[in-house]
């Protein structure tokens, strides 16, 4: 049966203003139709911006293919890495992507535990972002191996050489942390999707679509007993993901902090990396959500309230990051350590990379302060531009940490420089293409907003209105 078709959804898709998380006049049926309509509309009714966006992203994917092929043919020497900067773009991009992913888990897990109901219309979307960002992040360490086909050597497994990984090394912690994070992100996302896949199955017009969604929905029928176990499992996943996301970026920061290199060897790294991750992740959610809500007219589901809340989280985490920068500089001075002090003098004005540091300060600390103003937070173009700037700033942060520290370590005889090659840039841009392609496909092919949770929001709104009347 096909209960209602698109025309019956005559709820105005207008932004209800900054106080509401859902537009007026919505009931269980209309939220279902509006969200599933994005997926079930005919292929040619896809907004043209989606086609253009996908085409650009797809070109970038092809660029990645070329870059990676060349890398496999010639080896990692095609990148700008050299001694003493043996990591370069690979680690910069790895940390950047992992960080972007963290906002998804934060929105879906931590905000669920804190009962922030505004998370509902953006959590699915943010979880998908996590998944694709982690996929991009995971590519870099593997490509950087030199012999990527031996990547399984990272895992502990019985082998004829009787060799085992070193469990006291942060690099092995990283393997466990990132692979756990990727796995948990996938199952968290899929678990959230199951009831909505059942909705898509029941609403699908043609047999093929119904069959595909039917298989994916696993036979979900919305039984009360199933819901009881489902909710418990979902809550436990959220409870486990919350410390997981913090542990993952802490472990990523240990890659640096456990090394004795000046500029890396600091205890503030774990908390400040986690804050930075959430900061860049929220910036990415905004970067993606603002165009999509406009293209698909979802202004009544992703409202100004969402944009404003996300801007506030961005401002807050940005201030934690600012504190991190200040404390790094203060500790360098206060420690009195010759090498630590020099690392900072070099980072700020002496070395050839001083300008990256000051652009970073401008992008991550100075410009986002505009978000204190409510007028800026309520302006879509302003928030969009600031989010883009923060994305750039957070990338530069990792560049500054990696490159300025590595090029000037203890002994001047081992100092060097680092410049990325065209293949570094191609690989980086290519992963952005992969990420965007997957995002476009996800938005077109699966419900990008959690339908059953929006029905819960409708239910709670109705209940609280009822309570007000009484």
């Amino acid at each position: 049966m096909k209960p209602e078709d698109q025309e019956s959804t005559n709820v105005a898709t207008l932004d209800p203003g900054p106080d509401k998380i859902i537009g007026p006049g919505h009931d269980y049926g209309t939220v279902t139709d509006e969200i599933s309509g994005v997926v079930l509309r005919p292929f040619l009714k896809t907004p043209p911006q989606m086609f253009i966006g996908f085409a650009i992203a797809f070109i970038l994917v092809n660029l990645l293919m070329v870059a990676v092929t060349w890398l496999f043919v010639r080896g990692v020497g095609v990148w700008g890495i050299t001694m003493p900067v043996a990591w370069g773009f690979a680690i910069v991009n790895f940390v950047w992507w992992i960080g972007i992913g963290h906002a998804g888990t934060l929105i879906s897990a931590i905000l669920l535990l804190l009962k922030q109901d505004w998370r509902t219309s953006i959590n699915r979307f943010a979880e998908a972002m996590t998944l694709f960002a982690v996929a991009c992040a995971g590519m870099f360490p593997v490509l950087h191996l030199g012999r990527p086909w031996l990547a399984y050597w990272l895992l502990p497994y019985p082998n004829t050489m009787w060799l085992w990984p070193q469990p006291r090394s942060p690099l092995i912690w990283d393997v466990f942390a990132v692979s756990t994070y990727a796995t948990v992100s996938i199952i968290f996302w899929f678990t959230g999707l199951i009831p909505d896949l059942a909705t898509m199955r029941d609403k699908a017009g043609n047999a093929t679509t119904r069959k595909i969604f039917g298989v994916l929905a696993l036979g979900w029928r919305g039984s009360a007993k199933h819901w009881a176990r489902y909710q418990k499992a979902y809550l436990l996943l959220a409870g486990l993901s919350t410390p997981l996301v913090i542990s993952v970026h802490s472990v990523v920061s240990f890659d640096f902090a456990v090394a004795i290199l000046p500029g890396w060897h600091t205890t503030i790294f774990p908390p400040y990396f986690v804050a930075g991750a959430i900061y860049s992740g929220f910036a990415m959610v905004l970067t993606l959500a603002i165009p999509v809500r406009r293209w698909y007219h979802l202004e009544d589901l992703i409202t100004m309230r969402h944009i404003e809340c996300m801007s506030k989280v961005m401002l807050g985490t940005g201030l934690i990051v600012a504190y991190g920068y200040a404390m790094e500089a203060f500790m360098a001075w206060y420690s009195g350590g010759q090498f630590e002090r020099y690392a900072f003098v070099n980072r700020m004005w002496e070395g050839g990379y001083w300008w990256t540091y000051w652009i970073l300060i401008l992008c991550n600390i100075a410009i986002p302060q505009l978000l204190w103003s409510r007028r800026v937070r309520m302006s879509i173009p302003a928030v969009f531009v600031i989010a883009l700037i923060v994305n750039v700033g957070m990338w530069l942060e990792r560049f500054v940490i990696v490159v300025t520290s590595l090029t000037r370590d203890f002994v001047p005889s081992s100092w060097g420089t680092y410049y990325p090659t065209i293949w570094d840039w191609s690989t980086y841009l290519g992963t952005i293409g992969v990420f965007l392609c997957l995002m476009f496909l996800f938005i077109r092919g699966l419900p990008a907003i959690s339908i059953f949770e929006m029905r819960e929001v409708v239910h709670h709104n109705a209940e609280s209105e009822h309570a007000h009347r009484d």
Binding site: P156, W164, P167, W173, V184, K225, A228
Partner: protein
């Protein structure tokens, strides 16, 4: 024909009888009344979780959290033992004069293993306890049931219930003022 069976309470042709409601509150009320009436084998179907509904139809023990706890303990222990075994037994290698069993360095791996095993158990355990994936279920034979994933709320009293009788159960469901009462083909 309808009542002529060995067990007079059971009907040969139906999986159960299903009542359709517009909103969660009447369904919750109906589930409570059905339980008071003495019905035990029933289930409610809703487009989103409804607080108290599972209890109203007699759902008691949620095994998910117990499973996840056990899995977490096993996963954490396994992760720690893996680290210990690798660096003490399988490949002893002294780094910077530290003891072979330098356990603080195993904490991240232990934690990640705990989370991984617990999360996988939460999802697989939840699905297994729910009997999913399931390729066929009689409730889908009711055409109106397609809206159980959209905006309608259903209560189904199954024919396996000792108290089930086609006419009486139907009459009972009718008096709950549903939108309709449907037979569910087996």
């Amino acid at each position: 024909m309808l009542t002529a069976t060995k067990n007079p309470g059971q009907h040969p042709r139906v999986y159960g009888l299903m009542a359709e409601f517009d909103a969660p509150e009447p369904l919750l009320e109906a589930a409570r009344r059905a339980r008071e009436e003495g019905y035990r084998n029933m289930d409610a179907y809703t487009p989103m979780p409804i607080e108290g509904l599972a209890e109203a139809i007699g759902f008691q023990t949620n095994w998910v959290q117990r499973l996840v706890f056990v899995a977490g303990v096993l996963g954490g222990t396994g992760g720690f033992m893996l680290c210990w075994w690798m660096s003490v037994v399988a490949y002893p290698h002294i780094v910077a004069g530290r003891p072979l069993n330098s356990w603080p360095a195993y904490v991240p791996t232990t934690f990640e293993s705990m989370v991984l095993v617990a999360c996988l158990t939460a999802v697989i355990g939840m699905l297994a306890l729910n009997g999913l994936p399931q390729h066929y279920h009689p409730v889908f034979n009711v055409p109106q049931f397609a809206r159980a994933s959209r905006d309608r709320f259903f209560l189904c009293i199954e024919s396996t219930d000792p108290k089930f009788s086609f006419e009486e159960t139907r009459a009972f469901l009718e008096q709950l003022q549903p939108r309709g009462v449907m037979e569910v083909e087996p």
